[in-house]
C-alpha cells in the first residue's frame, strides 16, 4: 500500500474492514504497530489513541492478489512458488490470512552462488521494492515458516538441522491452534525444545494429534503439500522472419499462420478472443499495428482473418517487416458448442450475425451498430435505450397503447399553426412552406418532461391527418398564457 502511495511513507497506516457493525483494523503498518495498534482493534479506539492515523478501506482478497503477484515475480528465483495459506497449506485451520510465500528452491541456489547469497538476493530485491520481508530456508516448509517468522538467528538451517533450529522458538511457531498454544503455555512449555523430546503418547493424550502432526511435518517425518502458482500465459504469438516481408501476400501468410496458432491454443483452452492486435515491427524500427474486436468470444481463424483483412491495407511495410506479433489482450470463455452451431440459425445468437456485425464494426468502427430495448419512460426520445449486448432481452414489453409515428424527426421542427384555444388541434399548419389543412385529429396526449433530469415545458401531442391523407405528429410546447402563445412543433410522420 505504501509503495503505491509514497506520501504515506513514515505515517501510521491501517487497513480497516467492517466486522458486524464495527469497523476494525485488519492490518497495520509497522509505524502503527509501534504506537500500540494491532489488527482486530476497533478503528474508533485507535483513532482516539492516534489522531493522525491514516485509515484505508480493506478489500477482500487484497493480500491474496498481492501475494500471487509477488509469487509470479518470484518464479525468477525458483520454478515452484506458492502462496502460504492459499488453500490452508499445512491445514492450519481457522481463518488465517495468507501472509507469506513458499519457494521450492531445490536445485536453484547454486545458480546464485550458494544458499546464503541466494536468500540475501531475494530479500534484498523485495526490500528494495519496499516490502518488509523475512526469509528463511530449511528442509521442510514448516521449519522455514517458523524460522522466518519467529527465528532470531541465522536464517539458513542446515540439512536435518530442524530440531536444533526449532528448539529455541516459541510454541506458536508450529502453526498450531490457539487453544493448544494456550494449554502448552499454561503448563510452562513455552518453547519447542521443552516438549520436542517428550514421549509422543503423552503429547497426543494432552494436546491432540495436531501437535504431533506439526512436529512431524517440521522434522520432515510427515508430508506437506503446496499449490504452486501457475502464471497465466498471455495469448501472444510471434513470427520472426528471416527476410523482411514487404508484400501483402507475405503479410497475409504471416497473419494466417499466427491466427492458426493462436486459435488452436484458444480452442484447446475453451476460450475465445474479443480483441486482437496484429503488430508488425519494421526494419526501420517503426511499428505498424491493426486492431480488431468481436461482438462475441470466438476462435474461428477464418472469421478473424476476414476481420483483419478489411484493415490489412493500412499496414505500410516500407522497407519490410521482420517480426510479426499477434496478441489477444481480451480473452473470454467461449462455449465449446460454438463450432457445431456455426451453420445453424438462432435469432440474435446466430453465429453468422455475430460474424456480420464484427465485419461491420471492423470496417466502419464501433458505434455504427445499434440495438434498442424498451425503457419505461414516456418522453418519446427516451422511451428506448441502446443495448450493447446482443444477448440482452427486454425487461418490459414494447408499449403499443399510444400512437407513435413510424418516422420520428431527429429534432422537433417548429411549425406555424392556426389553432383554437384552449385544447384543440390546429386547423391549419404550415411546415416547410406547405400549408396543410387538418381533416381529422386525435389528442391531446400530454407528455410531461422528466423534471428530475431536465426542466422545461410539457408537450401536448396531437395526431393530425390533413386533407391529402398525410398523418403527422404535432405538439404544442407548454400552456397558453396571457402574454404569449406557445410554439407548435412537428415531431414525426405516421404511416
Amino acid at each position: 500500500m505504501v509503495i503505491r502511495k509514497p506520501e504515506l511513507r513514515g505515517k501510521p497506516v491501517v487497513l480497516s474492514a467492517k466486522d458486524h457493525n464495527r469497523v476494525v483494523i485488519t492490518a497495520a503498518s509497522p509505524e502503527a504497530e509501534k504506537e500500540g495498534l494491532f489488527p482486530g482493534m476497533v478503528v474508533a479506539d485507535s483513532r482516539a489513541l492516534l489522531p493522525e492515523l491514516v485509515v484505508m478501506e480493506d478489500k477482500a482478497g487484497r493480500e491474496m492478489r498481492l501475494l500471487r503477484g509477488l509469487g509470479e515475480w518470484c518464479i525468477r528465483f525458483a520454478p515452484v512458488t506458492a502462496v502460504d495459506g492459499a488453500d490452508g497449506v499445512g491445514g492450519s485451520g481457522g481463518a488465517e490470512r495468507p501472509d507469506g510465500l513458499i519457494l521450492d528452491v531445490s536445485g536453484c541456489p547454486h545458480l546464485w552462488g550458494g544458499e546464503e547469497p541466494y536468500l540475501k538476493q531475494i530479500l534484498k530485491r523485495l526490500r528494495a521494492i519496499g516490502y518488509h520481508v523475512q526469509g528463511a530456508m530449511a528442509d521442510t516448509m514448516l521449519a522455514a515458516w517458523a524460522v522466518a517468522r519467529y527465528g532470531k538467528g541465522y536464517p539458513i538451517i542446515a540439512a536435518n538441522g530442524q530440531a536444533a533450529a526449532l528448539g529455541p522458538l516459541p510454541c506458536q511457531a508450529l502453526r498450531i491452534e490457539a487453544a493448544t498454544t494456550e494449554r502448552l503455555q499454561q503448563l510452562g512449555l513455552a518453547r519447542i525444545d521443552q516438549f520436542i523430546s517428550m514421549p509422543r503418547g503423552a503429547l497426543r493424550r494432552r494436546f491432540g494429534a495436531q501437535l504431533l502432526h506439526r512436529l512431524d511435518q517440521a522434522l520432515g517425518h510427515a508430508e506437506e503439500s503446496l499449490e504452486p502458482i501457475c502464471p497465466v500465459e498471455a495469448f501472444t504469438e510471434r513470427l520472426p522472419c528471416l527476410e523482411p516481408i514487404q508484400t501483402r501476400t507475405g503479410i497475409e501468410i504471416a497473419l494466417q499462420r499466427l491466427l492458426n496458432q493462436l486459435c488452436e491454443r484458444l480452442q484447446q483452452e475453451g476460450k475465445g478472443l474479443r480483441t486482437a492486435v496484429f503488430k508488425g515491427y519494421r526494419v526501420d524500427g517503426k511499428m505498424e499495428s491493426i486492431e480488431i474486436s468481436t461482438t462475441r468470444a470466438t476462435h474461428q481463424a477464418n472469421h478473424l482473418f476476414a476481420l483483419f483483412e478489411i484493415r490489412l491495407a493500412t499496414i505500410e511495410p516500407a522497407l519490410g517487416i521482420e517480426l510479426f506479433i499477434l496478441e489477444a489482450p481480451k480473452v473470454e470463455d467461449a462455449a465449446p458448442a460454438q463450432t457445431t452451431l456455426w451453420s445453424g440459425s438462432a435469432g440474435l445468437e446466430d453465429n453468422g450475425l455475430a460474424a456480420l456485425l464484427d465485419r461491420l464494426t471492423g470496417k466502419f468502427g464501433a458505434g455504427v451498430i445499434h440495438r434498442y430495448l424498451p425503457e419505461e419512460r414516456y418522453w418519446p426520445e427516451r422511451s428506448f435505450r441502446e443495448s450493447t449486448d446482443l444477448r440482452e432481452t427486454p425487461s418490459t414489453s414494447w408499449p403499443t397503447d399510444r400512437p407513435r409515428p413510424i418516422q420520428l424527426l431527429p429534432h422537433p421542427e417548429p411549425i406555424q399553426v392556426t389553432a383554437p384555444i384552449p385544447d384543440y388541434p390546429p386547423m391549419l399548419f404550415r411546415y416547410k412552406g406547405v400549408l396543410h389543412k387538418t381533416a381529422k385529429a386525435d389528442g391531446p396526449e400530454r407528455i410531461e418532461r422528466e423534471w428530475w433530469t431536465d426542466a422545461g415545458p410539457h408537450r401536448d401531442y396531437y395526431t393530425v391527418e390533413d386533407e391529402s391523407g398525410g398523418r403527422y405528429w404535432l405538439f404544442r410546447s407548454g400552456h397558453y398564457r396571457d402574454d404569449h402563445s406557445p410554439q407548435w412543433f412537428i415531431h414525426g410522420f405516421f404511416a
Binding site: S343, G344, S345, A346, G347, L348, D350, N351, G352, L353, A355, L356, L357, R359, L360, K363, F364, V368, I369, H370, R371, Y372, L373, P374, P380, S383, F384, S387, L390, T393, P394, W398, P399, T400, P403, R404, P405, I406, Q407, L408, L409, P410, A439, K440, A441, D442, T463, V464, E465, E467, S468, G469, G470, R471, G492, F493, F494, A495
Partner: protein, 256 residues
C-alpha cells in the same frame, strides 16, 4: 396452338428460377397476408428470398413506405428471426415498429455515414443466411450494385428491401419488384371520430413476369392487412410486351 401455349408455359417455368424466383423449400413458405397482391407475382406467392425495391417521394410517403416495410417484416421475422436495418439518415422510430408486429429489439440498426458503405453493408448482410430480412435505406445505386445484391440473395434466400427515398434516377435495378406506397386518408371506424387505421395506396410498378397493379391496403395492428382492389387496376397480359428482352437479360445474367 395448345401445344405452343403449353410450351411457352413450360419455358416460363424454367426461366423463373433463373430470374430469382425459386420455389420455396418445404416449411419455409411464409404467408405475408397480402391477399390479392400476392396474385400479381408469378406462381401467385410473394417472392421471399429476393430483393424488393420501394420508392417514395415525399416525407409522408416515406412514412407510409416505412410502415409497409415493417408490416412485411413482421411475418418474415415471426419465428424469432432477426432483421437488419441499414441506412445513412435513419429516422425510423424503433418503438413504433411494434405496432406493425415487429419486435424492435430483434432489429439491429446499422447507421453509416456514406451511401457507398450502406450498399456494401447491405450486400454483406444479404449474404448472411441467419437473417430473416434486410432493409437498406439507399437512395441511389447502379445496376451492377443491385445485381450484386440479387446474387447474394439468390444464394442465401434472405429477403431484402431496398427503400429508396427521393431517388435521383430511376433506372433499371435488378430487383424482383418495384413498389410505391403512398398515403391515403384513413377511413373512420363506424361513428368514431379521429384518425383511423393507416391506409396506403400500394402500387406494384414493376414485377418480373407478373402483373403490375394497384391496391388499397389498410393496416390494423390486430388483424393485419385488409387489401381491396383499386378501381383502375391495370391489367396486362401475362407475358410482358418485351419478352425477348427478358429472355436476353436472363441469358446475360447466367453468363455473367
Amino acid at each position: 396452338m395448345i401445344a405452343k401455349r403449353e410450351l411457352i408455359r413450360r419455358l416460363q417455368e424454367e426461366l423463373l428460377p433463373l430470374q430469382g424466383f425459386r420455389p420455396p423449400t418445404a416449411g419455409a413458405r411464409v404467408d405475408m397476408g397480402l391477399g390479392p397482391v400476392a396474385a400479381a407475382f408469378p406462381r401467385g406467392e410473394f417472392p421471399a428470398g429476393a430483393v424488393h425495391e420501394l420508392i417514395s417521394a415525399s416525407p409522408e410517403d416515406w412514412a407510409a413506405t416505412g410502415g409497409f416495410v415493417a408490416a412485411l417484416l413482421a411475418p418474415l421475422m415471426r419465428d424469432g428471426g432477426v432483421g437488419i436495418w441499414i441506412g445513412t439518415r435513419r429516422t425510423v422510430f424503433p418503438p413504433a415498429l411494434k405496432r406493425f408486429g415487429v419486435d424492435p429489439d430483434k432489429i439491429v440498426f446499422v447507421d453509416l455515414a456514406r451511401e457507398k458503405d450502406a450498399i456494401w453493408a447491405m450486400e454483406e448482410a444479404l449474404k448472411c443466411e441467419g437473417l430473416a430480412a434486410v432493409v437498406g435505406e439507399i437512395r441511389d445505386l447502379d445496376f451492377t450494385a443491385s445485381r450484386k445484391l440479387q446474387l447474394a440473395v439468390e444464394k442465401s434466400r434472405v429477403t431484402g428491401f431496398l427503400v429508396r427515398h427521393q431517388p435521383r434516377n430511376l433506372g433499371t435495378v435488378a430487383a424482383v419488384a418495384r413498389w410505391r406506397v403512398g398515403l391515403l386518408a384513413s377511413e373512420p371506424e363506424g361513428e368514431m371520430p379521429g384518425v383511423g387505421f393507416p391506409r396506403w395506396k400500394v402500387e406494384l410498378l414493376k414485377v418480373r413476369n407478373g402483373r403490375p397493379g394497384e391496391w388499397i391496403a389498410e393496416w390494423n395492428n390486430e388483424t393485419g392487412f385488409k387489401i381491396t382492389d383499386h378501381e383502375q387496376t391495370i391489367c396486362l397480359p401475362l407475358l410482358p410486351a418485351s419478352q425477348n428482352r427478358l429472355v436476353g437479360y436472363s441469358q446475360a445474367g447466367a453468363a455473367g
